[in-house]
Symmetry: C2
Subunit: 328 residues, 2 copies
Amino acid sequence: MANAASNCWVGVDLGGTKVLAGVFDQRLKLLGSAKLSTRAERGVEIVLERIGRCVGEALEAAGKKRSDVAGVGVGAPGAVDVARGVVLFAPNLPGWRNIPLGRRLSKALGLPVVVGNDANVCTLGVHEVELGGRPRQLVGVFVGTGIGGGLILQGRLYEGACHTAGEVGHMIIEVNGPKCGCGNRGCWEALASRTAIFRRIREALQSGEKTVLTEWLGSELQDLRSNDLRKALERGDKLVHRILMQAADYLGIGLANLINLLNPEVVVLGGGLMQAVGDQLLPRIQRTARQLAMPGTARRLRITASKLGDEAGITGAAVLAQRWAQSR
Amino acid sequence: MANAASNCWVGVDLGGTKVLAGVFDQRLKLLGSAKLSTRAERGVEIVLERIGRCVGEALEAAGKKRSDVAGVGVGAPGAVDVARGVVLFAPNLPGWRNIPLGRRLSKALGLPVVVGNDANVCTLGVHEVELGGRPRQLVGVFVGTGIGGGLILQGRLYEGACHTAGEVGHMIIEVNGPKCGCGNRGCWEALASRTAIFRRIREALQSGEKTVLTEWLGSELQDLRSNDLRKALERGDKLVHRILMQAADYLGIGLANLINLLNPEVVVLGGGLMQAVGDQLLPRIQRTARQLAMPGTARRLRITASKLGDEAGITGAAVLAQRWAQSR
């Protein structure tokens, strides 16, 4: 059990490039946060150490001590055995296979730690904090390097038989389509993620098309980021606009599949790409998804973009820690 | 409440071409059944009358009276408002829009009636009777004229926000693929249903390919049925074999999507096409689905064909009636 004096929760968002930690009060208000680069290439031990340091910095920013913390939740980018707190594998964290993240971090911090899949955790955060825990059925879709998903079904986080449910990014929507990082072809994330968009822009450049992006990134589009897409749109770039609208259509097609299958009340979109250009994409995504959904399935449906942005992960991780403490 | 002397349950499978009714004892053993053509083209009233007659004939076959029946369940081919027993729409039953099937049939039979979607009901039957209610997560896929689906999640039938969940047949798996009856393109059922297979065989004939099917069905392949596919395979027909294996691959692709998304313990396949040629299709479906599923998601997974065949619908409808009585 948590100490009676413990009155806050820590949420950690472990990503391939950065670690975020946030300290939340009992009502899930953010008191302070910190960010560090992950340095995943330096190996598991270094990453574990950096997570601990990031939590320490977040506590400092919030003006809290370790003894104030009732529990820590972590969202990790991969398949997680939630019951044991083990990261089974994480494609974007080299060397992470069967790492007992929960136990290791708990020992280092002297605090209870619970671990979940990052997209599940983000969905939990949006459900609890942004939507007040109301929708009984919620599909969360997070578009960035890949496409992650989380499902709230019958009011609870749905994880399936081995905690791997919600792998929406590898839904095949174009048989024999472009190759995906997973080895299959035509996966949703090979068609509609930021990675897919960047690939299409580079292919267009190679075939002689023009874009303002080269003005500030050079002909190789080095260090291309989501925010460059926004800047290009603001400059009226036709190529970027066309490729983004195509991605929005693919996003809408995948959402229609999820809507037909799960008949949710709410679909919420988040992730880096949505944060950068979501306002441009959303109307087109909504229109395509509604056009393709079966009659009746979209009657009570709302398709929306999350306002939590970068904070969805740490918020959801804090919710996870809170839920877990309550369930014990 | 059911009469104390009432000791059996009636399950009705309402299809576009035929109505089946079965009488089951408390332990869901089939005591007797009957079958009638639906005559959907003659309108709603005639169909309602025929359902009543079919139930009467099944009772006679089982040696039971109406007063022996504790409740009636019906699986209907379309979107159903389960709480109100209303068929909202049913693409294969002309004129069926907002038909209060539960109330009408209850009045005609003098018995409590509960109505559900046919694929959901079949999945319930397989789950309860064939799998002993064990899998917590089960995906049922029924391949015939179309592709229907039912989901058991966290041990219960999952119906979504407006009871339309499980519309697996309209999952788009080939953007810009062949036109589907629903108006969209590249739906699973436009690629892998019996309808899709028959269309491909006819197209192949038109482009000059040969098949033994024409020997007994003529050059127009009139009255082509699933069992003709079996007969053609037994005669070593190369065209039919090739088109069936292609359909098996498409079935495997769609299953992989469902496995990645829902991480079930069991996927069960049923329906007319599986009954006729399931033994030929299943190994290829299993191989494709497992190849495309994400690592880890298929660890505890079994992909199997239902042995209930034609009886899945009436069995599941009896289960539905039983559950519904228990929940009141």
